[in-house]
Symmetry: D2
Subunit: 323 residues, 4 copies
């Protein structure tokens, strides 16, 4: 295989804070190593429609601190089909682009894997707030999302404690409870419900009531959306203890916004640069991750077929400290 | 009437950011002028149940920057009835408390008005995020709530613009659209719906669609809860333009939390001190407000029977600038 | 005089948060009323060098929340001289620009006044963090600067109280102590030194020591730069009480940065739109201000020859509450 | 050795954000495992003066989000001497306290090491913003300090870019440049000076000038205090390029304040709990750290005699991306 000379970068799936920092790192690192770098607008949709443009140092100026993604993102049904994937590969070949960096989540990796099998050298960067991607300890955007949640929980505590009320906060996390877990531990949430751990609703209700009887002026239950809707859980608790009526807050898309934290910016910068260096070294079909402090590559085939392990130790710690 | 020697302070109704700064000002100003100052826990409920305690400089140390209220708040059905009000007046008389500062909204003022008519000298401070109290340009907490909303809208813009989507954000304001208006103008919201101004849903939907056709990458509609639920408005818009599906975010109680802004702290400090000075001067049955930069007193009878005027000029400005 | 058809906007002097919101308002309001609108880069320097370009709705998209000024600012010695002023007037006339909005402080107003006298219709907007401009209760940027200072003081309190130390914080304000006053009241500073009020250093030192002897764990002195350098004041205090060594923090230019608060954005939006409407009505040579809640015009000749009045009442309140 | 039944916790040295979260974890984890837990006020000074008090769940309520340390910190010359150390050990023995958790930096570890050698079981937690402690990837407070710095640099960029100026920002880090490195990478600083890497001032000056000539509107140089004072570096640069006058900002103690980030709270919670569990298991004389994602113990003797390794890879990355 010949040396990489032209690379492109796209963002795909739900956006996350730090995607811009990752795009910046890919562009600047690529230019540093003498490559031509292209941006693709609106993910795989833009790729199939040849919405591709050259990027230079200025294209990524003043974006490291911005939420969202200047490359935008979009769903693309056409790319789901083999035909669409072949079209994408052809467009890249016609333009002489011999390396592609895809920033996104699980679905985005599957797309990059397909392109790899069609002969396009691809690298994946974990861009999603959910932290649901295996073979990386943190995804780009996760730390910022946890900050947003903890900030919101702090605000709720002010008013909950003034009125001696309890609150249920529904946060993102369809398959992975990490946002609930990390934000729950950091904000001292009394109860954390995640998809990875089964729970007994009667025990949850008893626990909330006990806290109050012990004199706790307020109580927060954090629930990952994968467990169920906050509103439904509130109703269940109310049924089990009729004199008890928790308020429900659904944080929704604000979890995806805001300036990325330094942690996310640095994670994104390191991973973006790593992806470029590995493409230059001839690697392909791999997801980039930070595992125990080290930058590592893992085959897409492995990543997309593995479920992220849940940190049971941290979960138990949260329970221990919120007694 | 004899000179005031002992005063008490309570917070009532929904809490708001800056209530603590107001409590601090009442306590410190009272002590400065040689009064004894008492705190009442949980609003009128605590008053009726004699949950009253002396406060000194230390009681209000390190609270100026805290959301919520250290005096807590609570609903009190008993105080709604004449019997409860008489009981409250008696308790104050028995304790020799001859001045009461009530921090809260419209309902709290009505209670203070009743006590005034029972011979207790009372002063009201406008503590509510809604800015729905007349005879003051700003209520304590309003500026902070607007900050919380604008911060959330900024976060939503990041992700909305990445995905070229539209968003509906439901904010507080049952009778008064000021949070929606001020936050909408400050965040450049494309559409603002408030209870004070009628609207035509077809026009709203057309406007949102037009914005997109003109190339605007995202669009925010801010709706005060008094207009209707964000979700219902989203459905209506979707019915009117079936290919158009705005996301709905309900900000809820986080609007009531967070450290008060300097603006709210200073407003609270000025009003709290003013209330004490006016009690000393022999005033009673009055609401304290900041009107066009001046501290003013207005009879409770007038305040509770007046509807806050809406700033139509600012509303039109918001429309002009979000074209 | 004929009707205004083309207007231009520039920012001048030290930048302040909210200048972008003001530029946006001028541009959007101008376009709304059917005018052509131009931007001038780098203040009067850009004007003299004809660095002028047309602006449309897109030119001011996504800037309302940004600190700094997209039009930039610069010192311009050339414009200080009559010759430079005439050149500027000629350039505007050649381009058919018949109205100019200048956003800046006192010096910027003087320049706008000169142009007015050369027959160019000009309007001034108070863009400076110092709040040192008379005939407006607030300047654009002041509220944000106060927020930045209060945030920094909060951070210092954490560490000062852990170590039982005192802190001196030097803030901006050469001739006007409003930043020190408003931030000091809002953060509960024990001492506030402003250029408008004389003080006795021995009393200041005694007060700081007394606080400690009374058991206060930390003490903050806020000093406006117009009073003197924080370091010098620290040394004086140390000489007067040798066992006493306050830490000094100079906040510097961070006070000028950060996203403008909603308050500043709305003030800027209202004033920017007001300036455009008044130019259309034929006014010229006037400063726009918000006085007691009302938008007002005042002759430049009056504004530049008046000293801002100091709010002595608020200063005494701060003293009363920090006892 | 008998089983641990009573433990105490103190904070020592410069305070850092997250110390309160660590104290909370030690107390709650200790109580969870059936121990009695005591707090020691003002570090080793309070220990020697027997300023020791029992702590329960309530003692650490509502502190997880607070900067500073409720246990305060202080220098203690007396404890530097063997006599003082023996007195401290005796006081602990008299009270039956058989385990001590010390939260602080290098100097605090040396004290804990001495007590360990006098037969007191001790554990150390890395509480310092500098990240200068080996055998842990992160110290408690470091992430928050980096956030504070990046926030300040963002504010400076606004105003620097408006005026096309350059800025030098002096940050903490006497022996360890990690704050400068992580904050510099995250904020896209053009130049980063750390004690671990030698530099050529002429090259630095050339680089800053080149950036300007290439059209960069602003430039930030981050310097760790261990390299030299920001002001001196500014003067050197000015001498080397006389037409070039960078502004200098010294962030100072605000870097130590503010609410700890979720990252720091969770790090503190995990380490605090770990220390307690290890004391129960009979360990002593060890520093707790998080190394490559794992909680580990390292002998104080090793920790205090090792210099933290500098992340050269990340430094080179920062250079690559800020070209």
């Amino acid at each position: 295989m010949s040396a990489v000379k032209k690379i492109a970068v796209l963002t795909s799936g739900g956006d996350s804070q730090g995607m811009n920092a990752a795009v910046r790192a890919v562009v600047r690192s690529g230019l540093y190593f003498g490559l031509e770098v292209f941006g693709i607008q609106r993910g795989y949709h833009g790729l199939i429609h040849d919405d591709i443009f050259p990027m230079d140092l200025r294209s990524v100026g003043d974006i490291i601190q911005r939420g969202g993604t200047i490359l935008q993102s979009a769903r693309c049904m056409e790319f789901m089909r083999a035909e669409g994937q072949q079209k994408a590969a052809e467009i890249l070949r016609e333009r002489g682009i011999d390396g592609l960096v895809v920033i996104g989540g699980d679905g985005s990796y599957q797309g990059a894997n397909k392109l790899n099998k069609l002969g396009i050298r691809t690298m994946g960067l974990p861009g999603t707030i959910d932290n649901d991607i295996p073979y990386t300890d943190f995804t780009i955007g996760f730390d910022t999302a946890v900050n947003v949640v903890v900030d919101a929980v702090n605000k709720l505590r002010d008013t909950m404690s003034s009125h001696e009320r309890s609150s249920i906060v529904e946060v993102m996390g369809r398959y992975c409870g990490d946002i609930a877990l990390h934000a729950g531990l950091a904000s001292g949430a009394e109860t954390i419900l995640v998809p990875e751990v089964t729970y007994n609703m009667q025990e949850v209700a008893d626990r909330m009531r006990n806290n109050f009887e012990k004199g706790k002026r307020h109580s927060i239950l954090l629930v990952a959306e994968g467990v169920g809707r906050g509103e439904d859980i509130g109703k269940l608790i109310h049924e089990l203890c009729p004199d008890y009526e928790p308020r429900v807050t659904v944080l929704g898309h604000i979890q995806r916004g805001g300036a990325p934290t330094p942690f996310d910016r640095n994670l994104a910068s390191r991973l973006g640069d790593f992806a470029v260096r590995k493409l230059i070294e001839g690697e392909s079909g791999k997801a980039c991750g930070l595992v125990k402090g080290e930058l590592v590559l893992t085959d897409f085939d492995i990543v997309v077929n593995t479920k992220k392990e849940f940190n049971m130790e941290m979960y138990e710690l949260a329970q221990r400290l919120s007694q």
